[in-house]
């Protein structure tokens, strides 16, 4: 018996985002199984951009919930603005009897009540308190939540496509992980990186890119760097080189504009003083 793959909306990547075949498959599996997709990886591996690309590729609205260290799970559901209601009650020009007027939906609530299916990005979930993901378990499972003040249940009209990113700053709870589909984006190899560079700088000379990549991966191998240069720094650096009109020859021995690649002062000193890198252009 041959099983025919069923039809569901298929994400195929977009022009401005290069996706590896395995990640593309995982995204589609997550959409089909209606489970949150948890994406981890080094900074600069395009975790956040993936959600943008999924939304663009499928033609859906993207709702972004940026997590901060102070974010609470409830913030994503709804906020009951008690103070506003109390104040309004003093003047009597607004209808304070209807508590609904003072319930404001959070990003999760917004995603649930949307008339069409949306892509919901919960960005950098590990920034919040370590109990945070556990507080969202039920809401993400059932795709619904209860508003105590009004006795109302908000249920998703269309299950949003949920993409969650994490920098692995904190360990996530097991119960949460069990419910997710997990993919770790590895740092792009030089070949993939070359393609990524062309997405951002389509007209740059190949020779220059190859040389930049060589320097870039060499720098990433230097030991004791506090912060390895990542994709965004490489893109910026190449941008600067193009603007400054640096030629391959000038790039031969030094790394001009090293400061674009290396952001930490200690790293910069380590490279220039101890490892003998130069941020000067070389002239022949």
């Amino acid at each position: 018996m041959r099983v025919v793959p069923e039809k569901f909306e298929v994400y195929n990547g977009t022009d401005d985002y290069i996706v590896s075949p395995e990640l593309k498959d995982i995204v589609n599996v997550a959409i089909a199984l209606e489970r949150p997709l948890l994406i981890r990886g080094e900074p600069g591996t395009g975790k956040t951009l993936l959600a943008h690309s999924i939304a663009k590729g499928l033609g859906k609205r993207l709702i972004v919930w940026n997590i901060k260290s102070t974010t609470k799970a409830k913030d994503g559901l709804y906020v009951y603005d008690t103070v506003q209601r109390l104040y309004d009650s003093r003047f009597g020009d607004k209808d304070v009897s209807n508590i609904k007027n003072y319930i404001r939906l959070g990003k999760l609530g917004e995603a649930f009540t949307s008339e069409t299916q949306v892509v919901l990005l919960i960005d950098e979930i590990d920034k919040a308190d370590i109990e945070f993901p556990n507080d969202l378990l039920n809401e993400l499972d059932e795709m619904s939540f209860y508003i105590y003040e009004t006795g109302e249940t908000i249920k998703a009209k269309h299950r949003p496509i949920v993409v969650i990113t994490s920098n692995a700053e904190k360990e996530l709870p097991d119960a949460f992980l069990r419910r997710c589909i997990f993919h770790y984006i590895e740092f792009p190899d030089p070949e993939l990186m070359e393609r990524i560079v062309y997405v951002h700088h389509p007209n740059v000379r190949k020779e220059l890119v190859w040389q930049c990549l060589e320097k870039f991966y060499e720098l990433r191998k230097v030991e004791y760097l506090r912060k390895k240069p990542s994709t965004s720094e490489l893109i910026d650096w190449i941008g600067v080189l193009i603007k400054a009109g640096i030629t391959e020859k000038e790039l031969a021995d030094g790394i001009p504009f090293l400061g674009t690649l290396i952001k930490k002062e200690q790293d910069y000193e380590l490279l220039t003083k101890e490892k003998g890198y130069s941020d000067e252009r070389s002239y022949y």
Partner: protein, 429 residues
């Protein structure tokens, strides 16, 4: 590798719906995404995958495997243990393997003059591998690596003309393009144009070996314990509505609304972590590292989190990094850190008696200490209101009259296990 029933059922569902599309590579990523949720277990998964599929797939993808091997031989070999390597070679038809290799090299018009060892290894790898000690094997690998690197360099020059003005392309300044200590070898793979890794090759790379952790006490557990270290006080901006107080004030105001705000509760706990980074701590390196990362990741939760290192025992200087380069006077530490810092010392407290009791007892010959270590320990204990010592050495080795025993008379000492950590935290609150 913990897999729950729910995860397994989802996996079965995915297979039934044919998401793997009868493709081993898709199957590999699908199974990993649905069953393995922590990078620490990726390597175990790779191992299990290899165990199951190794024998099935290698003959099928033989040609591809050779091409891959040619483009980047050590990417595969580097990540295998000698036994695994042996099995790979056993499974391959080695005569054909060698023939293809030689043919391919001939095609690239590279004069093949490998070193004696390389030649031998290619002729009969099993024999050679068996004869070598691990050290020799490592030496051979280095040698082979150099040789191969040269071949690749030449091949690339001829093939792609990527060199710009004869510039260095691979291995600048003698740094290995394959990375050190088993790091992901990306450098050289720039040369490869075809990148169709089969699933088995992906698994064989064993990229995630470094993430492995077979240790009981994981970071999350430590964090949960450390989080109990709380000293909640209301500080900062008044941004929370104090309902009780609002009702009170409004009543007193005869019903005219009076809103009272208050600042939210914040953790005021301050932590000073001192870690022994001496040689005797090496066996516990991972464990201590874990405690450190747990605390470090929590540093936003604490009002302040500071850490310093010492070497075996604490004397007149503490160090800012494990390389013992930058230091700070212990006296200075006592002066700058208030007594309400919670002091956590992590160390094995195991040293020669003289290191603890004698002047100039420091193991560091160049760091003569005029004051014995024990005096410094007592000063620290005296200065901080709450302090504990976490010891990775099992309590059954805390013998009477050992330095552990003497130090445990000064600091409340706890075994560095989950229970011990919990007890220690209780002591600190």
């Amino acid at each position: 590798m913990p897999v729950t029933l729910t995860e397994w059922l989802v996996f079965i569902e995915a297979l039934q719906r044919n998401f793997a599309a009868c493709n081993t590579k898709k199957f590999y990523y699908l199974a990993r995404a649905l069953l393995v949720k922590k990078i620490n277990y990726f390597d175990n998964f790779d191992e299990a995958f290899l165990e199951t599929f190794r024998d099935m797939e290698i003959p099928l993808d033989f040609q591809e495997a050779i091409e891959e091997w040619l483009q980047n031989p050590f990417e595969i070999l580097h990540f295998l243990t000698p036994e695994e390597r042996l099995r790979l070679l056993e499974n391959a038809n080695f005569e054909q393997f060698r023939k293809t290799l030689l043919e391919a090299l001939a095609n690239f018009k590279i004069p093949l003059e490998p070193s004696e060892a390389l030649k031998k290894w290619m002729q009969n790898p099993r024999e050679l591998l068996r004869m070598l000690t691990p050290a020799q094997r490592a030496a051979l690998e280095r040698l082979t690596l150099e040789e191969l690197r040269r071949l690749f360099e030449e091949r690339m020059k001829e093939q792609k003309e990527r060199h710009n003005g004869g510039n260095r392309w691979i291995g600048t300044g003698g740094t290995s393009p394959f990375g050190q200590g088993g790091e992901h070898p990306t450098g050289i793979s720039l040369a490869s144009r075809t990148r169709s890794h089969s699933a088995i090759q992906v698994a064989m790379r064993r990229h995630f070996r470094n993430y492995r952790s077979d240790i009981v006490l994981d970071i999350r557990q430590i964090q949960l314990a450390l989080k109990k270290l709380r000293n909640l006080k209301r500080v900062g901006l008044e941004e929370e509505l104090d309902i009780e107080e609002t009702i009170d004030k409004t009543c007193k105001n005869a019903g005219e609304l009076e809103i009272v705000m208050r600042p939210p509760k914040k953790n005021r706990a301050k932590v000073l972590l001192l870690m022994d980074a001496g040689g005797s701590m090496d066996p516990y390196y991972m464990l201590v590292n874990r405690v450190f990362s747990a605390a470090y990741q929590l540093n936003k939760t604490f009002k302040d989190f500071k850490y310093l290192y010492f070497h075996n025992c604490i004397y007149d200087r503490l160090y800012k990094n494990m390389a013992f380069r930058e230091s700070i006077a212990t006296q200075e530490v006592l002066r700058t850190y208030d007594k309400d810092y919670k002091l956590i010392i992590v160390g094995d407290a195991s040293m020669a008696h003289s290191e603890l009791f004698a002047r100039g007892g420091s193991i560091d010959y160049y760091n003569y200490n005029p004051t014995p270590g024990i005096i410094w320990l007592k000063r620290l204990k005296h200065h901080f209101e709450k302090s504990v010592w976490l010891n990775p050495v099992q309590p059954r080795y805390w013998y009477v009259n050992s330095t552990i025993w003497y130090i445990s008379k000064i600091f409340p000492m706890f075994y560095l296990s989950l229970d011990g950590l919990d007890e220690a935290i209780k002591k600190l609150i």
